[in-house]
């Protein structure tokens, strides 16, 4: 009876992780397209930056509109500040995570706490190295270098270095279900020239982000005094 339970449990565990790609050891192989990376691929920001993107939103493949997104990141402090505005300059949403989530302004349809939490999580996933430990490192079947992090909330984040300075970041739930896929394409200055985010959530959506301007930031993060401070210690779900 005990062995049957163990078998069922093992099958369930294997099934739950079935969507995670298989990682092979990074031994030099002549047939691989790209040489194995000696360190984990890291397209993430290492110094404070402010970035402005045009963000095009698509739901089920159909264009829903476009907005201007401003992101301020201080990687060492895990500080994230962001704003969404219309072309006409109307601020629809403004929030920051210090790391506690503080919503400064949120107009409909951006006025739910879940939206704010997911938005900050997406920004962190794009720009900041995953929090947690490297669970596996190697290459994929096509030879692309990969590192798999297991985050503190038991999710998995795969960071893959592709050809021509492209990167792919994929977040999986603890069950192995894919939640986010991010594709980064290197531009003149950084990896954030073109960002494509695909979300498999309550409803599927895609964000296509094109860099307008990017600049390093020297000053320390200044928190906004407005808005409501969340009691949560961090933005994690």
């Amino acid at each position: 009876m005990k062995s049957l339970r163990l078998l069922v449990l093992t099958v369930l565990l294997l099934a739950s992780c079935s969507t995670l790609p298989v990682i092979h050891p990074a031994a030099p192989r002549p047939e691989v397209k790209f040489p194995a990376c000696p360190v984990c691929p890291s397209p993430f920001l290492k110094t404070p930056h402010r970035l402005v993107h045009i963000i095009e939103v698509r739901v089920a493949g159909k264009a829903q509109g476009a907005v201007i997104g401003v992101t301020l990141i201080h990687p060492s402090a895990q500080f994230v500040s962001c704003a969404i505005m219309t072309a006409e300059g109307i601020t629809l949403f403004e929030a920051e995570a210090t790391p506690g989530l503080k919503i400064i302004r949120a107009l409909p349809p951006f006025d739910s706490r879940d939206f704010a939490r997911n938005m900050i999580e997406d920004i962190k996933l794009i720009f900041l190295a995953p929090e947690g430990q490297v669970a596996a490192k190697g290459i994929l079947a096509d030879g692309a270098a990969i590192c798999r992090w297991q985050t503190t909330s038991a999710e998995f984040v795969d960071v893959v270095a592709g050809p021509q300075e492209t990167f792919e970041i994929t977040r999986y739930a603890a069950s192995g279900r894919r939640q986010r896929r991010i594709k980064l394409k290197h531009g003149a200055d950084n990896f954030y020239q073109h960002i494509e985010l695909t979300a498999q959530d309550a409803f599927d959506y895609s964000l296509f982000m094109t860099l307008v301007e990017s600049e390093p930031v020297k000053s320390e993060p200044q928190t906004n005094n407005r808005g409501l401070q969340d009691n949560e210690k961090n933005c994690g779900r």
Binding site: G65, A66, V67, I68, L72, A87, E88, G89, T91, V212
Partner: protein, 205 residues
């Protein structure tokens, strides 16, 4: 008793004087703008926010034809066009290299905001009951609109419109959301009553 009435009369006339002057001021603005049939202009918009070290600059163009047609177009960084006429407002936004109609709920609100700016361009500054208006004369006339409704007060603190006194042309519009956030739109190359092709208010491209 007679003396008291006299004091009250002087007091009332002193208190009412600015209101009368204000109403006259707006009436004068309306009269001076009555001859405006079309307006076209370029604009530069500077958005200031705490998160931005320097203002985010957008550029665009604007067309108005009496009584209610307007085209408000951003050329960069995010191309978008709002077309309005006969009570219908549509917003188009660049998507995959083409202009696509924006079906989001914000279009109506955007139409109201831009329609309001259109009213100002044609001298109608005190038509919206949602705002309390104040007028300050100087080299340029400064009109300040303050929201009276609570829900709008949370979005916009005040709007300042600067009008060139001599020509009655709106020089700039400043929308102040709060002490850290403001949008300044400076108009240039303003042309009044120059013929505008009807397609400007119909065709997106």
């Amino acid at each position: 008793m007679h003396k008291k009435l006299l004091i009250l009369f002087f007091l009332l006339s002193f208190l009412l004087r600015p209101c009368v002057a204000l109403a006259n001021g707006f009436e004068q603005l309306r009269r001076n703008s009555a001859g405006i049939k079309t307006v076209q202009a370029r604009f530069v918009q500077k958005k200031s926010m705490k998160i931005l070290a320097k203002p985010l600059i957008s550029e665009g163009r604007f067309f108005y034809a009496s009584p209610d047609s307007f085209r408000w177009e951003y050329l960069k960084p995010l191309r978008s066009v709002v077309l309005s006429g006969k009570g219908v407002t549509k917003r188009y936004i660049i998507s995959g290299g083409k202009m696509a109609e924006d079906k989001s709920g914000g279009v109506k609100a955007m139409g109201i905001v831009l329609g309001e700016i259109t009213n100002w361009m044609s001298g109608k500054f005190d038509q919206n009951p949602s705002f309390k208006t104040a007028l300050q004369e100087g080299r340029n006339t400064l009109i300040t609109l303050t929201p009276v409704e609570q829900h709008m007060a949370g979005m916009i603190e005040k709007i300042e419109i600067s009008v060139v006194r001599k020509t009655m042309v709106v020089k700039s519009v400043k929308i102040i959301e709060d002490k850290n956030t403001a949008t300044l739109i400076n108009f240039s190359n303003v042309e009044i009553n120059k013929s505008i092709n009807a397609s400007i208010f119909q065709d997106v491209e």
